[in-house]
């Protein structure tokens, strides 16, 4: 009975996460951009703008310019999270891809650096007065959520080992619609429950910045207003719009 609930829950969360994300992407993509507003100096070609976007997403270029500590903790957290997520693919893919096998040691290490960086970011949020005043309950709760996910994950390896073979069977069962029982040890349930919460709020909270950054006109536009006329229904004169 409990296992059927887990199965339903897993499908529901996946559906809401993917559907919510798709909806937000669609919403951003279909909202017009009335004017050219790249923050300059900006690349003058579209390829250049794409490179700027990639640097921004991969290296947090602007944050580096702004504040080295926030950059360090923020970048380490995100890279660690990416490694941890990649590492987790071994629990849902059979056979395990070579890349996922190769990053396994890094992924294990990343579990610790992720939690460490999160705690450092949280400390900053609590200790720097001007960051403290802009932090609301949800900002702290999201950090708490991420720390708890990381800590419960580490606990499954280092405190109370989970039957990971059974867990993988559960996930593969979901993928192949051949449902298997999920082990019910507390660390695993806490870990998966919190991940479910994270996935549910992701499309509808500030966590969406991971999608939003790609759509930020000040970053993704090329500085080519004089070379290439920018047209958008919202910016054009009514006569031109209708003509």
């Amino acid at each position: 009975m409990a296992n059927e609930a887990f199965v339903v829950l897993a499908y529901a969360v996946a559906l809401i996460f993917a559907g919510g994300l798709a909806y937000r992407v669609w919403q951003y993509a279909t909202t017009p951009v009335p004017l050219k507003i790249p923050t300059t100096p900006a690349p003058v070609t579209r390829a250049g703008a794409a490179a700027r976007m990639l640097r921004e997403v991969a290296l947090f270029e602007s944050l580096f310019r702004s504040n080295k500590w926030t950059w360090l903790f923020g970048w380490v957290f995100h890279v660690s999270l990416a490694l941890v997520v990649l590492r987790h693919l071994r629990y849902v893919l059979e056979p395990v891809p070579l890349l996922v096998q190769l990053i396994q040691p890094l992924g294990v290490l990343a579990g610790f650096t992720m939690v460490g960086a999160l705690l450092a970011l949280w400390a900053r949020r609590l200790l720097v007065p001007r960051v403290r005043v802009i932090s609301g309950p949800s900002d702290h709760l999201m950090l708490a959520l991420l720390v708890a996910i990381g800590a419960s994950g580490l606990a499954m390896t280092y405190v109370a080992r989970t039957d990971i073979v059974a867990v993988k069977a559960f996930w593969l069962g979901l993928v192949h619609v051949d449902w298997q029982p999920l082990p019910t040890d507390p660390a695993l349930l806490v870990h998966l429950g919190l991940v479910a919460v994270l996935a549910l709020i992701f499309p509808f909270s500030k966590l969406l910045h991971g999608v939003g950054v790609w759509f930020s006109p000040s970053r993704n536009q090329a500085d080519d207003a004089r070379e290439r006329r920018h047209t958008s229904p919202a910016g054009l004169a009514p006569a031109v719009r209708e003509g």
């Binding site: 951003y28 951009v33 300059t40 947090f60 802009i134 759509f215 970053r219």
Partner: protein, 528 residues
């Protein structure tokens, strides 16, 4: 008097020093509310309308549908704090609501309350708030303490631009009848008379004639400042402050001398005797378009081939980035030249081609620095390369002046600080904000004055010039320490006719310029 001494003391210190938080110290700073006549001339209700809450929320909904930037920026902020110490109005005042993220949150909390699931279900958890009268007052206060300079946007990991948010908030306030007097009254004057100052064509004509006489008296050369001359090659559109204020007018004389030397015919337009477009400040695309369309009409009516803009920061942003979208296509202009072109690009092209002669010693009494104006620095470009907006004005200054020293690197170029008066703040009732917002720039200037004996600061923005004329004395500098870039050009330029023994290829008004000549082609920067 004691207050003024206090301000002078504030000119000493690290320009970017983060102040202690002083919650609410700027809450009482508010601009005058626009009178019904000022509102209605722009198509806004005369005063706060019945049911303004619903109307404001509906307007926010419309803006969210029409601007991806607004939607993405309201959603994406993670409160990382990267922007918190970047706004000059925060650095100068310590009021946490002047931290860009907090300023954005004034609108974001309303967005969350009415447009997001979490804000509807658990408002206190996600900082969502009802739009109350108190929130509206906060908007009116703090969205008029943002000069839309985009400094925060430079440092934000998502490029969130508080300018876009304050524009949206001002648009919402206009839509419900609570506009800002300064900006709206000025836009009304543009529609009615043709420029921000309300200078009628006759007075403009007289001013230009007076300037022609002045230049001839001084140089012995008949440099023209033509108005409404059909068939001219170039339409020069310049902020109307250039027609009467100082140091703007000295810059205007500089443009005229350069254009004279180029041999290319040009004209001002009384219909578009204003480069500024305050429609941008109030975030109203419709008003911005209507103001922009005047320039298109003037260019078409006069049959010009080129469009050149004078020294004005936000006007250059609108011209460079928005004009083609709002009022284009400008296919009737000569595609060999940038459409539009900045006067600094025009002058620099002539200098590069060796067509201007300077006596730099004429500026030897001046030890100069350069204030990058925010809308030029972070919202536009000059020349063909990114960052040309920093290099070209400096190259002009170095060509015309022997003593040039930049301010601290973290306060110039793309990291430049606002003068404190941009974005519709250049009005007396906001003087406290303007003084505080100028503090980081005044500190950077104090440092180069102490270190290098810098006496003057050049700028390419009418608002910067007007703001600094007022603010410099308060920080213990000379009011005339602010100069126009083309004022330096004007001081140093050697006009062809005034030189003895030089070829007499230049005698009077360049009238027979039908082809613009090979000279004109040589100096175009085009798209090479």
């Amino acid at each position: 008097m004691a207050g003024d001494d206090n301000i002078i003391d504030r000119a000493n210190g690290d320009p970017l020093e983060c102040p202690a938080l002083a919650p609410g110290v700027m809450a009482s700073s508010k601009p005058y509310v626009a009178a019904p006549a000022h509102q209605e001339a722009l198509g806004f209700p005369g005063q706060l309308v019945e049911g303004w809450q619903e109307k404001a929320i509906a307007r926010l909904g419309e803006l969210l549908e029409s601007s991806r930037a607004l939607r993405v920026y309201l959603d994406s902020c993670v409160k990382c704090g990267a922007c918190t110490d970047k706004c000059q109005f925060f650095l100068g005042s310590g009021d946490p609501n002047n931290m860009p993220v907090a300023r954005q949150d004034l609108l974001r909390k309303v967005y969350r309350r009415y447009f997001t699931l979490a804000g509807k279900l658990t408002p206190s958890l996600v900082g969502a708030e009802d739009l109350t009268e108190q929130v509206l007052e906060e908007w009116f206060s703090y969205f008029h303490q943002c000069s839309q300079c985009r400094r925060c946007s430079l440092f934000c990991p998502y490029g969130i631009d508080t300018a876009e948010i304050s524009m949206a908030a001002r648009d919402i306030m206009d839509t419900i009848g609570k506009g800002q007097k300064y900006s709206n009254e000025i836009i009304g004057k543009v529609f009615k008379i043709g420029n921000n100052l309300g200078l009628p064509p006759k007075a403009l004509k007289a001013t230009l004639q007076g300037l022609e006489e002045e230049i001839e008296e001084e140089t012995g050369v008949a440099v023209r400042l033509p108005l409404d001359e059909p068939g001219a090659e170039i339409l020069l559109v310049t902020p109307s402050a250039d027609f009467f204020a100082s140091p703007h007018m000295e810059g205007l004389i500089g443009y005229a001398k350069v254009l004279h030397e180029s041999g290319i015919s040009w004209t001002f337009s009384s219909h578009a005797s204003e480069a500024a477009n305050f429609g941008m400040f109030i975030g109203s695309t419709d008003n911005m378009r209507n103001v922009a369309l005047r320039i298109r009409k003037a260019a078409e009516d006069l049959g010009v081939k080129r469009l050149v803009f004078g020294e004005c920061g936000h006007a250059w942003r609108v011209a460079y980035n928005f004009l083609d979208t709002l009022a284009g296509p400008f296919d009737f202009l000569d595609p060999k030249y940038p459409r539009p072109q900045h006067i600094c690009e025009f002058t620099w092209d002539l200098i590069k081609a060796g067509r201007l002669t300077f006596d730099k010693s004429k500026n030897d009494q001046i030890r100069l620095t350069f204030h990058d104006s925010c809308n030029v620095a972070r919202a536009s470009r000059m020349g063909d390369e990114p960052g040309g907006q920093f290099e070209i004005p400096r190259a002009i200054l170095r060509a015309t002046c022997n003593h040039f020293y930049d301010m601290a690197p973290e306060t110039i170029r793309e990291s430049t600080l606002c003068c404190g008066g941009g974005g519709g703040l250049l009005t007396d009732e906001l003087m406290d904000v303007r003084i505080k917002g100028a503090q980081p720039r005044m500190r950077a200037l104090r440092a180069v004055a102490d270190e290098h004996g810098v006496t003057h600061m050049a700028a390419i923005c009418a608002i910067c010039k007007a703001q600094f004329s007022k603010i410099l004395p308060k920080y213990g500098f000379d009011m005339e320490a602010i100069v126009s870039v083309h004022q330096m050009v004007s001081n140093a330029i050697v006009l062809s006719g005034s030189r003895t023994g030089d070829a007499s290829d230049e005698d009077d008004a360049p009238d027979g310029e039908h082809d613009g000549g090979p000279a004109a082609q040589k100096e175009g920067s085009g798209d090479e």
